[in-house]
Each structure stands twice: as structure tokens, then as C-alpha cells.
Symmetry: C2
Subunit: 104 residues, 2 copies
């Protein structure tokens, strides 16, 4: 679908992408973690896109199996949600992924 | 207002009350913390009450200054959100509050 192609293009062209919701504390945690790591993700707030928001969320589920936010991609690779991202950070792996993706 | 009286009655008659949303991970964290402490809060899922949900959320904001979920009460006292509740737990104060409220 065209929306699916849009998502693939987005994650392919941006080192770090976070699909988020503005009111969601888990989304806020992930955004603030990247900020602390001096990374500027492309943030897509699904609640600010009108009817396209839920459509995007369905496409993301089709592409990644994940229907929740935040939904994080680094170097075009699906990372996961908040818990997954924080886990990788604590293992020291997040920063290597970010360097490999030239995110910083 | 009548809704305000309902809330006051609810928090007055139940040792632990959590105003929550079913999709929210912060709300889930608070509910799971109480479960681990062997406490059965009265949980009110604001997203499952149709138009009354947002109305209740406004009443809670008027009563507590807090417009977010989760919104936690123990022994009729406003505790706060997820971060506040977890903070009290780590300080060892949550369990005293729960005992005092005969929550367990
Ligand atoms: N363990 C996941 C939890 C993700 C989750 O449950 N996200 C919620 C919001 S906190 C969600 O997307 N709920 C459904 C929705 O908002 O559409 C993570 O760490 O990201
Ligand atoms: N620090 C607060 C954060 C509360 C918060 O921002 N809650 C969000 C959901 S995670 C919220 O209620 N957003 C507005 C809404 O859902 O109506 C806490 O620990 O509870
Ligand atoms: S909506 Fe509350 S943590 Fe995501």
C-alpha cells in the first residue's frame, strides 16, 4: 500500500525514527532518552495526524508485529518499544546501533 | 456537581482507587505494583466510560490539580501518578499508607 511505502521510505531515510503519541509517558521516556544521548530522532506523533494516525499504526503493526507506541527504528531496523530501547541502552548496545546508523 | 460528589464518595469508601486507562503503560505499572503488594485497588478505566470518561478526568483535575492518568488515591488521600506512587514505594512509605488505610 502507499502508506506502507511511505513508512519504509521514512525509516530508510532517517537514522532514528520514533512513532509516538504526544500524551504518552512511555513515548516521552524514549524521546527524552535520545535527547540525553544527543540524538535527534524523526518523531511522528500519531495522535496529531487525524485519521491517518490509526492507519499508520495499522501499517506499523503489519510491518513489525508491534501495534503499540512508542515504535522505534534505528538504521532502518525495528528496535521495539520503550522497554526494548531502554534495555538495549542499559546493555550498552543502543549507542553502538546509533553510531552504526550515523545517528551521532 | 453530581460527578464531583460521586468521586468524593468513591475515594472515601475505597481504601485504594486508581483512575486509569486500559491502553496506558504507566497505568499498567501502578496496577501491577499494587498487585505485587497484594492490594486490590478499585480501578476505574476512564477510556471505557464513553463520554463520562473525559468528564471524570476534568472533575479529577478540579479536585486534585492532576489531569493525567494514572490518578491514585489511598485512604481518600490524593497520592499522585505513577512516578509519585513508585517514589513512595521506594521510600518505604507506600506500604505504611496502605496499612493505615486498611488496604491490606
Ligand atoms: N512494553 C511496551 C508497551 C507499549 C504499550 O503498551 N504502549 C501503549 C501506550 S503506553 C499503547 O500503544 N497502547 C495502545 C495505543 O495507544 O494505541 C513498550 O515498552 O513500549
Ligand atoms: N509523571 C506522571 C505522568 C502522567 C502522564 O503524563 N500521563 C499521561 C498518560 S501516560 C496522560 O494522562 N496524558 C493525558 C491523557 O491521557 O489524558 C505519572 O507518573 O503519572
Ligand atoms: S499512554 Fe501512558 S504510558 Fe503510554
Amino acid at each position: 500500500s502507499r502508506l506502507e511505502e511511505t513508512v519504509k521510505k521514512t525509516i530508510g531515510e532517517n537514522p532514528v525514527v520514533v512513532y509516538s503519541k504526544t500524551w504518552c509517558s512511555y513515548s516521552a521516556e524514549v524521546k527524552s532518552l535520545f535527547k540525553r544521548l544527543d540524538v535527534q530522532p524523526l518523531v511522528i506523533e500519531l495522535d496529531q495526524l487525524g485519521p491517518q494516525g490509526p492507519q499508520l499504526q495499522k501499517v506499523l503493526q503489519r510491518l513489525t508485529g508491534q501495534h503499540t507506541v512508542p515504535n522505534v527504528f534505528i538504521g532502518g531496523k525495528h528496535i521495539g518499544g520503550c522497554t526494548d530501547t531502554v534495555k538495549l541502552y542499559r546493555k550498552g548496545e543502543l549507542e553502538s546501533l546509533l553510531s552504526a546508523a550515523s545517528a551521532r
